[in-house]
Amino acid sequence: MATTALSPRVGAYPRSRVYEWLTTTDHKKIGIMYITSAYLFFLVGGLMALAIRTELAAPGTQFLNPDIYNQAFTMHGTTMIFFFVMPMLAGFANYIVPLQIGAADMAFPRINALSFWIIPFSGLLLFSSFALGGAAAGGWTSYTPLSEAKYAGTGQDLWLAGLLLNGVSSILGAINLLATIFKLRAPGMTMLRLPIFVWTVLVTSVLLIFAVPVLASGLVMLFIDRNYGGAFFDPAAGGDTVLWQHVFWFFGHPEVYILILPAFGIISEVLPVFSRKPLFGYKAFVLATVSIGVLGFGVWAHHMFTTGAVFLPFFSITTFLISVPTGVKMFNWIATMWRGKLRFTTAMLFAVGFLASFLIGGLDGAFSASTPIDFALQDTYWIVSHLHYVLFGGSAFAIMAATYYWFPKMTGRFLDERLGKVHFAIMFVGTHLTFFPMHLLGISGMPRRIQDYAPNAGWQDLNVLATFGSYLIGFAILVLLWNIFATLRGPRTAGDDPWDANTLEWATTSPPPAYNFDRLPEIRSERPLFDLKHGGAGHAPALPSGEGSQP
């Protein structure tokens, strides 16, 4: 077949497996490496979370002194955001996007390999700080002046350098994904037939390109402050401390949508397949994704309501408004399930778990959008609750759904569904036990980032509950690890299209060949495989009338 000529990796002579992986430019292998390393970082970040929870189970100092404790949550937050969720979603995007648009690889395969390899190295740089006099301890937000040379040691420099490198990786990855989506779509794959996951990756990549460089400029300025006597954020030398917060959050808020939009995309793939219905309101979905991306750049100062240095009404209204497109998605998902034929595979359970949990996190955010309420809640455990409901109940649940959903495609094997359900049940219960009580702690006044609290503050019971919940989550993750391990040792069980799915990645073998496709079905809607299987007859217009791009 002529297509073999397209394979970048048809070696004429044998090479070792390890060498093959180390030098690969195949988007699928790179995707798997992204995902694997992200899971490893998740375990590290999770162990730090367990340490934090254990310390907080009782007043007094149990086993993390204040110094180590501050390092622990700083590195926990940094690891989870920059080394777990971001690379994880980049990994899924890497693996899935070229397949879903019917391409043979990414637009720039070698840059793709570079973007991946930066991640473990920047991670090592960041973590080397533990051996070099202590990690950064100023929170994942590293507010100045606490992160200036006067108050923070080498760990902070390594944090800056690690994130700068990590940012380079993200930017290169985003450019690559955008070029791939714009240039390598198969014939017939018009923009309005892109699977929603691809759309969310597209918008996320745009956000990355606009937001990450701004963080980079802040990191550089702080680095100059710390090492070359700069005066950017040092009020004593004429600089402005609040400037750091502006720069950080101008990046930081789009960042949180970077962490959730591809998760929305995953859910939008899983729900239709297991409801056996198309995604309800495809165009509204695209529009909502784009408007979240745009609005996301206008809300950053909602993290700074209590600084007394920002114009409150503007940032309050934009923050409120961003709930609207998110709500559209929520209702469209439910409408997708409505009158469907729901199959409760583990992936589907996690998708439904996502809806249930993310809703809570989103509503928490709406409280904070109201400035007076935020004056009470800011920097308390309420915020910790909010951020975990959206990031753990949201992004991490979606990542779990994606893991169960695409594992058969990547390996040709089903993860064990029975273990999967056990995993889901424990993790779901654990999540709410851990993070729900934090609302109550927050409104009763428990500040975040404290290593200790007074025994008479009345906070212990809820903290014990949260700690217990976190152990449950840990146990659930062990079940997942066992499931993956056992499955990989077992035989191949999955066919090419084991879920009876809709999109192109299921139109090739599991796992796909290096060049991805021998042939492609004709693409007439955002569900080419569905059209193929159900012949279009009777369902002829795969898009509702009015969807402009019919051939």
Binding site: S275, F320, M337, P372, L440, Q451, G458
Partner: protein
């Protein structure tokens, strides 16, 4: 195709129910935490509480509606046969409804928030009492009767220029008093990093930022003593930056104020004659210049402490010095650049630890022979 075995689904439901019960039990058992903020003690806090209740009601309604729809869909539309369901792609009217209705809701929430915010952030032209709060790693100094220049002066050290200043020692924060029913202005200054002035019963906090002076007005309505705590990460002592605030009627407040002014005038007791002198100093909060000193037993000691740190105050506290195991001296704190002499009663032979009670990481060993 994969289907959950019946047993698995059954146990799922049991687990879900059990967790719900556990959650509710947890929520109810807690001594002071609930789904509403603790009852506010300021005029402004009451507004916040009302707003919170309103948003809570709306959020609960949305929560119940959406979770209800999810649960309904999950229970009702479970696959029962293999026929393809009707392939609906969208519905313009429905989608418009769930765009417009939430939009209207958030606009209402926004308007209400702004109305409350206007009142909560309002500043009186002539507040009855002005309290200056200086946050530093990791304590507060509170200045009463400080000059007007403090309105904009960013690097202040309440001391001689004010009527009096309060500080706490260790985790025991300063004890502020304010009169009830009157407008109190808090002016917030930082000597080093960012802190946040937070009294949970105010339902309010404000950042304490170096290079800026933030301020806010409150009227405390409920008399009582309320705990406060720093709410912005400020280093390893962040969890121990407490303060306590007592609201009392104007008469009691005035009496307290007069007593404080009187106390500030008193000079510290002179050191005993024949005391053995120990010289200590500190240039940063990282530690004392000497971490091991020695002194003769059963002799009164005078620790002459020179604070060379230009940003924060320190002290020298000898732990377990008293017969009852209490610590010796430690007060008053030495302001930046100041030298303070601490008188320590005669000690028995042995080793003692001295610390700065503001920065418990600053330690040293005193060997008494």
């Amino acid at each position: 195709m994969i289907r959950a075995p019946h047993r698995a689904r059954q146990s799922l439901k049991v687990v879900a129910a059990a967790s719900l019960v556990a959650l509710l039990a947890g929520a109810c058992q807690a001594d002071s935490a609930g789904i509403f903020p603790p009852s506010p003690v300021t005029e402004q806090g009451v507004l916040t509480q009302d707003l919170y209740r309103f948003v809570f009601a709306i959020a609960t309604a949305i929560f119940l509606l959406v979770e209800g729809l999810i649960v309904w869909a999950v229970l009702r539309y479970r696959r029962r046969d293999d026929r393809l369901p009707v392939q609906t792609h969208g519905n313009l009217i429905a989608e418009a409804a769930w765009t417009v209705i939430p939009a209207l809701i958030v606009i209402v929430l926004f308007v209400m928030s702004m109305q409350a915010q206007g009142k909560i952030e309002a500043k009186s032209a002539a507040p009855d009492v002005v309290v200056d709060v200086v946050g530093f790693q990791w304590q507060w100094t509170i200045g009463y009767g400080c000059p007007d220049s403090y309105d904009s002066a960013t690097n202040v050290q309440p001391g001689q220029d004010c009527d009096f200043a309060l500080t706490g020692a260790g985790k025991q924060g300063p004890d502020l008093h304010v009169p009830t029913g009157q407008t109190i202005r808090f002016r917030l200054h930082s000597a080093d990093v960012i802190h946040a002035f937070y009294v949970p019963r105010f339902l309010y906090k404000k950042d304490v930022i170096p290079g800026r002076v933030n301020s806010f007005d409150v009227v405390v309505e409920q008399p009582g003593t309320y705990a406060g705590q720093c709410a912005e990460l400020c280093g390893i002592g962040h969890a121990g930056m407490f303060l306590s605030l007592t609201a009392e009627d104007r008469g009691a407040y005035d009496a307290w104020y007069a007593a404080q002014v009187e106390g500030a005038k008193q000079t510290p007791a002179p050191t005993q004659a024949g005391a053995f002198t120990i010289n200590l100093s500190a240039t940063t909060a990282a530690g004392f210049d000497q971490t091991a000193v020695s002194a003769p037993a059963d002799t009164p000691l005078a620790i002459v402490f020179q604070n060379k740190d230009q940003t924060v105050q320190h002290n020298v506290t000898v732990l377990n010095a008293g017969p009852d195991g209490g610590s010796a001296a430690g007060q008053p704190n030495a302001q930046p650049g100041q030298t303070v002499t601490y008188a320590v009663p005669p000690l028995k032979a042995g080793t003692y630890t001295y610390i700065c009670s503001i920065h418990p990481n600053m330690t040293g060993t005193l060997t008494v022979q």
